[in-house]
Subunit: 187 residues, 2 copies
């Protein structure tokens, strides 16, 4: 099925490459290696998977009040360069988000969307790809299930990857609460 | 099917992003904009799809006699930065390969492998993914067919993408001849 291929693709072509190197990328950044040592940054990727399949361009709220990238220079972790299939210096990188709780205290998390969910969303939107609304819902559910299974079992993922299911319709404060909750559970 | 999802993923997550910008990336490089104007570099991506699914790490022959990257600095085209699903400054970039013919004359082509073929190959290698040898062959054939269909029809791909089917077992001089042939046909 579509979801089966996309889940394995995400594992072989991304998680297997990036997760084992995560601590090294963190340690290459002075700001983040300090926060890592202090226990304030977990060496884990929190990956949002929206039920609607809708992947935003940007997670941040623009007024930097709830979830945001504080410093565009420092908060994008140093890149990992790899050659993949003839593409020299292909770049893999993660971004650290700042999450401000209701008391104004700052928390940190490496966050991003589960990219393959965007493929499913667009296949449904694009008539030529021939995927109905019901099939889209089913494939997203399957994608979640397959990824959960793969990342729980595979050595290079365990303890480094947290799937965060969301509706895809959350406002910023709701996303913040979901993330604070996920961070709590992940410690 | 697996191939169906991977083909659309390659289109929505890569070709749709990169191909419309290809001429701009070429023009940002002094070396390559000159060779483009002179008709020696086609603004097309030549994408190898091996029947075995085996994707090499590096296309080059190390003695730089047949297919190689001449200058690691200049031959990797300038990067395209995009934000995708919360990953800030995600990098997309292509590499120009030099292809030396039997008379020692240099030809140029933007080359790489069709990365999703690697997912299929690894699914077959990895027992948990449950893909047999026969299924693998079928999925690679389907991947080729779907990609041919998508890139012939979609506006943002037409004239900018050339699928180059290979066995996956070629020696360097055989790959060179295949590429010289493909370049000829693409003019
Ligand atoms: N968040 C995130 N950051 C990344 O750097 C990244 N790289 C890959 N992926 C996701 O992992 C999976 C496997 O990737 P693969 O390379 O086999 O296929 C990729 C690859 O064939 C092609 N592609 C995408 N980006 C590039 C790129 N920069 N260079 C070459 N090819 C690329 O288009 C496919 C789909 O890409 P995405 O739809 O972005 O999601 C991929 C995919 O779900 C990423 N996800």
């Amino acid at each position: 099925s579509v979801a089966h291929g996309l889940a394995w693709s995400y594992y072989f072509g991304y998680l297997k490459i990036v997760l084992p190197e995560l601590i090294n990328q963190i340690n290459e950044s002075e700001k983040w290696s300090n926060l890592f040592i202090g226990g304030e940054l977990l060496p884990k990727v929190f990956a949002l998977i929206p039920k609607t399949g809708f992947m935003v361009g940007e997670i941040c709220d623009d007024r930097k009040q709830m979830i945001y990238v504080d410093d565009e220079e420092e908060d994008v972790l140093p890149p990992l360069f790899m050659e993949r299939g003839g593409v020299k210096k292909r770049v893999y990188r993660n971004t650290v988000y700042t999450i401000k709780d209701q008391d104004g205290r700052e928390h940190y998390a490496i966050m991003e969307y589960v990219t393959p969910v965007d493929t499913i969303y667009r296949m449904n939107q694009h008539r030529e790809a021939g995927m109905s609304e019901d099939e889209k819902d089913m494939q997203i559910k399957l994608l979640y299930r397959y990824l959960k299974e793969i990342t729980d079992k595979e050595e290079d993922c365990r303890g480094r990857f947290v799937l965060v299911p969301i509706s895809g319709k959350e406002k910023h404060h709701e996303l913040r609460d979901i993330m604070l909750d996920a961070l709590e559970k992940a410690r």
